[in-house]
């Protein structure tokens, strides 16, 4: 029986001294999601500790970072109340803005900064945007879906808000290892689509495990009076998955990359419509 792959070493130590970057006096923390390590340099121990706890399953001190970000603490109220995240690219430099943070980075030099009121939500958003951009040209995507690994294969559950993503995670039997109850990370490596755990949480409030496994099936979920399962034709599946894919940038080339990945995904991985009652028996259909 195949077993899930550990994608990053779990390190729950508190390597404050080991994480100190002597050149700039900041505290470094490397967070690896989907096999892509990103190093954050916190301005103070309090912010570092907050992040170390938030991403504990994904901290990987030994990993060589693909990108590095300096975090800059902003005073509460220093930014704006805007709740919508704005993402744009100017001369190759990506700029992100929301009420609680401002960020800028360059995919070429693989560096940037994030100015925010110290909280994990701003960093969460930064990581989601950065990973979505990196994946767009790397045969991958972020999907608004919960997921888990069972018998060495991964299963994802996607749908609109309220469709039951968190419910599916909550109803999972003990032999299922949680990848996420909110944002799934899908990436094709060696010709095989795999789902990776993420720290991005929904209502469940529990970060996933840093593991991955070949993707066995994707389910379009909805609550119903009876449990039911039916295959979804490829074109229809692609339209659904495009709707549930997280992509923040208005960039034609990257958008085309996401579309191509979705088309390949539905060709290689079966997609089902899953109607279910909020009852553990639904997992009898997930094998």
């Amino acid at each position: 029986m195949p077993t899930p792959t550990t994608c990053a070493a779990v390190d729950r130590r508190a390597p404050v001294a080991g994480g100190l970057d002597p050149e700039i006096g900041r505290l470094g923390l490397t967070i690896e999601i989907g096999g892509l390590p990103i190093r954050l340099r916190a301005p103070n121990p309090e912010f570092w500790s907050l992040l170390a706890a938030r991403y504990s399953n994904f901290v990987r001190p030994e990993a060589r970072a693909e990108m590095e970000f300096d975090l800059i603490a902003a005073a509460p109220g220093a930014l704006s109340q805007e709740e919508r995240v704005e993402v744009r690219c100017e001369d190759g430099r990506w700029l992100l803005a929301r009420g609680d943070f401002r960020a800028a980075f360059d995919l070429g030099s693989r560096g940037g900064h994030l100015a925010c009121v110290p909280n994990p939500y701003s960093v969460d958003t930064l990581l989601r945007v950065v990973h979505s951009l990196l994946l767009a040209s790397a045969d991958g995507l972020l999907l608004h879906a919960s997921g888990g690994i069972r018998n060495g294969r991964s299963f994802l559950f996607t749908g609109v808000s309220g469709a039951g993503k968190t419910t599916m995670a909550r109803l999972a039997p003990p032999d299922v290892r949680l990848l996420t109850d909110e944002i799934s990370y899908v990436r094709r490596t060696d010709g095989c689509f795999r789902a990776y755990g993420t720290p991005f949480t929904g209502e469940l409030g529990i970060q996933g495990e840093s593991i991955c496994a070949p993707l066995a099936a994707i389910y379009l979920i909805e609550h119903a009076a009876e449990n039911g399962l039916e295959p979804v034709p490829e074109a229809q599946a692609a339209r659904h998955l495009m709707r549930h894919t997280l992509f923040f940038a208005r960039d034609a080339r990257l958008a085309a990359g996401v579309f191509t990945t979705v088309c390949e995904l539905v060709r290689r991985v079966p997609v089902f419509r899953l109607q279910f009652q909020p009852d553990p028996r639904v997992w009898e259909m997930i094998q």
């Binding site: 490829e234 339209r239 958008a255 088309c263």
Partner: protein
């Protein structure tokens, strides 16, 4: 009556999935699904073959439809896709369409 030429915009990503052609405008991420006949027109939109000839050679020869009806439907399809900037339309042959050219066509020269 002038001759109509059509070409695919490079700002469009298109894939055949099962028996359906699915495409996305990379300009605004709008998704389209094409019928069988529309897919035939799309695939034949090389910028050099007149629409009238495409309809005669690729549509009427395959489907049981008379030429005037097929051409009328084709022109409607072409107008719809041109409006979204994913198809370039001109009264002269089109060389190497680009996203910019297509967008310009959709806003300026499309019919």
């Amino acid at each position: 009556m002038s001759t109509t030429y059509i070409a695919r915009s490079s700002a469009v990503a298109a894939r055949r999935l099962g028996d359906e052609m699915v495409m996305m405008s990379a300009l605004d991420s709008t998704l389209f699904s094409l019928s069988d006949v529309a897919a035939v027109l799309w695939e034949a939109a090389d910028g050099h073959t007149p629409l009238d000839q495409i309809v005669r050679d690729r549509v009427c020869s395959t489907y049981e439809v008379d030429h005037p009806t097929a051409l009328r439907d084709a022109e409607e399809f072409v107008r719809a896709l041109a409006a979204h900037g994913v198809l370039l339309v001109s009264d002269h042959p089109i060389e190497a369409p680009t996203a910019q050219a297509s967008a310009a066509s959709a806003s300026g020269n499309s019919r």
